[in-house]
């Protein structure tokens, strides 16, 4: 498995944060960074997904012809899509089982699941089309869309570098200015994380992870960018701590440009998340020696982010059900967090063990076939 690196570390960090933040009311939520931050782990996760795409495109996939790159990335998108369908179905079954065992029909409402049970014909079509998403299970649908467009991102980078940033920014600005988002169905509404705007932070992650273009510019001027980022991060901490939000009536049109909206990834949130990246980029190398065991664990999670993400989604839902049964006690919350982190770690370790086992098998010569004996 690859050595510890910054992207895996922060991915692991984002995964742990998402696990805790997806259990409403849990005691330990107060220690997650969103309490002192304008943006949260969702921005970090999507930005890092962009970085990971760049590392793939510039690394192991750099020699691939365009059609093979397209095939590889679309296969990955399909893999994540299958994971989303699987994890959603597991969540539905988990809630249904809990509702039956506890004789608690209200659990069938949680996180927008009610349409599955009350309007199953339409809701199942919506699940497959990703237009029906469960609450807290709405990051993977965004990720599917981003991976689906990943070949376009990668091929534009190869053929027309300057256009990529312009196109991505153009779609972001258009969506923000006109409030355009993808619809949900059968429950009327819009996507919780709008792919039309969130693609921009994905593309920025992709571009900034490279050594040329804006990535090269950022590296050359990192000290200056860090000084610029510092007041933004401090302001973001104040906003997060005070829960300040601009007056949507007073701000001029187009209002989404001036609010702190998460669905549309408002510019303030985007700038804040980029400032966090500028300030903390490279920090991993400095503090890694002091937290070697923790960083080893977080990198393990980060290396297996899809498996871990699916697991944490179900673990956080299980945590919610446990809190419903036993009440919101700190001791129970501590147990949920400890068990959750343990299971996530074991699953990531098992995934790597399986890969190593496969690699070992592949490297050994096959034993001669036994004679049939009859």
């Amino acid at each position: 498995m690859r050595a510890q690196n910054e992207i895996d570390f922060w991915r692991g960090f984002a995964l742990v944060t998402i696990f805790i933040n997806h259990i409403p009311g849990i005691y330990f939520e107060r220690f997650t960074f969103r309490n002192v931050s304008l943006s949260d782990s969702a921005e970090l996760f999507v930005f890092l997904a962009g970085c990971a795409l760049r590392i793939l495109v510039d690394g192991s996939a750099s020699a691939l012809p365009a059609q093979w790159l397209l095939f590889r990335l679309e296969a990955r998108a399909f893999h994540v899509y299958v994971a989303q369908i699987f994890v959603t179905e597991m969540a539905i079954a988990l809630l249904a089982a809990a509702a039956l065992l506890l004789d608690a029909p209200y659990l069938l409402d949680w996180h927008n699941t009610s349409a599955i049970f009350n309007d199953p014909v339409k809701a199942h079509i919506g699940l497959v089309l990703l237009t029906h998403q469960l609450g807290y299970f709405n990051i993977l649908p965004l990720y599917v869309v981003l991976l689906f467009i990943a070949p376009a991102v990668a091929l534009l980078q190869r053929t027309a570098k300057t256009i990529l940033l312009l196109v991505s920014f153009g779609i972001y600005a258009w969506s923000l200015i006109y409030g355009v988002n993808l619809p949900t169905w059968p429950v009327e509404g819009t996507w919780f994380l709008n792919p039309l705007t969130w693609q921009f932070i994905y593309v920025l992650g992709f571009l900034l992870a490279g050594s040329d273009g804006i990535g090269g510019f950022a590296r050359r001027h990192l000290t200056l960018l860090r000084w610029l980022a510092l007041p933004v991060v401090v302001l973001g901490a104040i906003v997060g701590y005070t829960n300040f939000s601009p007056d949507p009536v007073a701000v001029p049109e187009p209002k989404l440009l001036f609010t702190f909206d998460k669905t549309f990834l408002a510019p303030a949130r985007l700038i804040h998340s980029l400032a966090l990246v500028a300030l903390f980029s490279g920090a991993f190398k400095i503090f890694q020696p002091w937290i070697s065991r923790s960083s080893e664990y977080l990198c393990l999670l980060g290396r297996n982010s899809l498996n871990v993400f699916c697991a944490l989604s179900l673990l956080s839902l299980s945590g919610q059900i446990l809190r419903f049964i036993f009440g919101g006690y700190v001791a129970l919350d501590a147990l949920i967090v400890i068990l959750g982190l343990l299971v996530m770690g074991v699953l990531a370790w098992a995934a790597e063990w399986r890969e190593r086992f496969r690699a070992d098998l592949a490297s050994k010569p096959l034993p001669p076939p036994h004679s049939a004996g009859f």
Partner: protein, 247 residues
């Protein structure tokens, strides 16, 4: 078309819409009036009233036979009938099973996009079931109310429903009490669904307000909910003197 009534100025203010026999409960079991300054101002100007109905399954209308039987849809009809000539537009943004913290996030987004005059926020049940600490729930609700007030948007809290099973649940009671306290402290209109539904359940035991799952409302349940919210709003819009909240 009849001229729209002007709140607090109309010579004969519209009477609160009569409650249908199955939904009839004492006014004190519905709400204590509180001012709705922004809607009042819009009425005085004869403008269209835009209402954002947000919350969970009771807003979405789970258990109703069709979307037109959800409480926001029925409320729109009742209000337009009561405030003759006034154009009322209610946007339904119910998401089943959602806790207040997530709804609060959506409120900010929806307010920026739809710019409503009033937010009808139905809440509490899912926070109680998710065991969200009442003080945390209270902080979320208070900060959102203050944000809405600062942005000159009226807010009406629509409380938890009555079900015999959850009536003894510690968290459920704590969240219900928390809502009462918030409404009293912030002087905002709070529709006490729990009290109204309990009155009906105790006095008219043969009436079924719930769907077959015994958790969501049925058409009659939503009709009563819409009537109670409409009653509370009209009384508040045209009230001359406020009565103290009676718990």
């Amino acid at each position: 078309m009849a001229a729209p009534p002007h709140a607090e100025e109309a010579s004969v203010p519209p009477a609160a819409p009569p409650l249908s026999p199955p939904c009839d409960v004492p006014g004190t079991d519905i709400a204590a009036p509180a001012t709705l300054p922004n809607v009042t101002q819009a009425l005085q100007k004869g403008e269209k009233i835009r209402i954002l109905a947000i919350g969970s399954s009771s807003t979405l209308g789970l258990g109703a036979s069709s979307t037109t039987r959800s409480y926001p849809s029925q409320l729109e009809v009742i209000l337009e009938h009561a405030l003759k000539g006034v154009d009322i537009a209610i946007i339904n943004r119910g998401v089943a099973g959602e806790v207040a913290e997530d709804t609060a996030e959506r409120i900010k987004s929806e307010v920026a996009l739809k710019q409503p005059d009033l937010v009808l926020w139905q809440l509490g049940t899912n926070d109680a079931l998710a065991r969200v600490p009442p003080e945390e729930f209270e902080n979320t609700v208070r900060s959102t109310i203050n944000w809405l007030k600062a942005n000159r948007i009226d807010v009406v809290l629509v409380g938890v429903q009555y079900t015999s099973r959850l009536a003894r649940d510690e968290n459920y009671v704590a969240i219900r009490d928390s809502l009462r306290k918030i409404a009293a402290d912030e002087n905002i209109l709070y529709v006490r669904r729990y009290d109204a539904m309990r009155f009906i359940a105790q006095r008219r035991a043969n009436l079924q307000l719930m769907a077959s799952d015994n958790f969501h409302l049925n058409d009659l349940g939503y009709q009563c909910m819409a009537e109670h919210v409409a009653h509370a709003m009209i009384i508040s819009l045209f009230v001359k003197r406020l009565r103290p909240i009676q718990n």
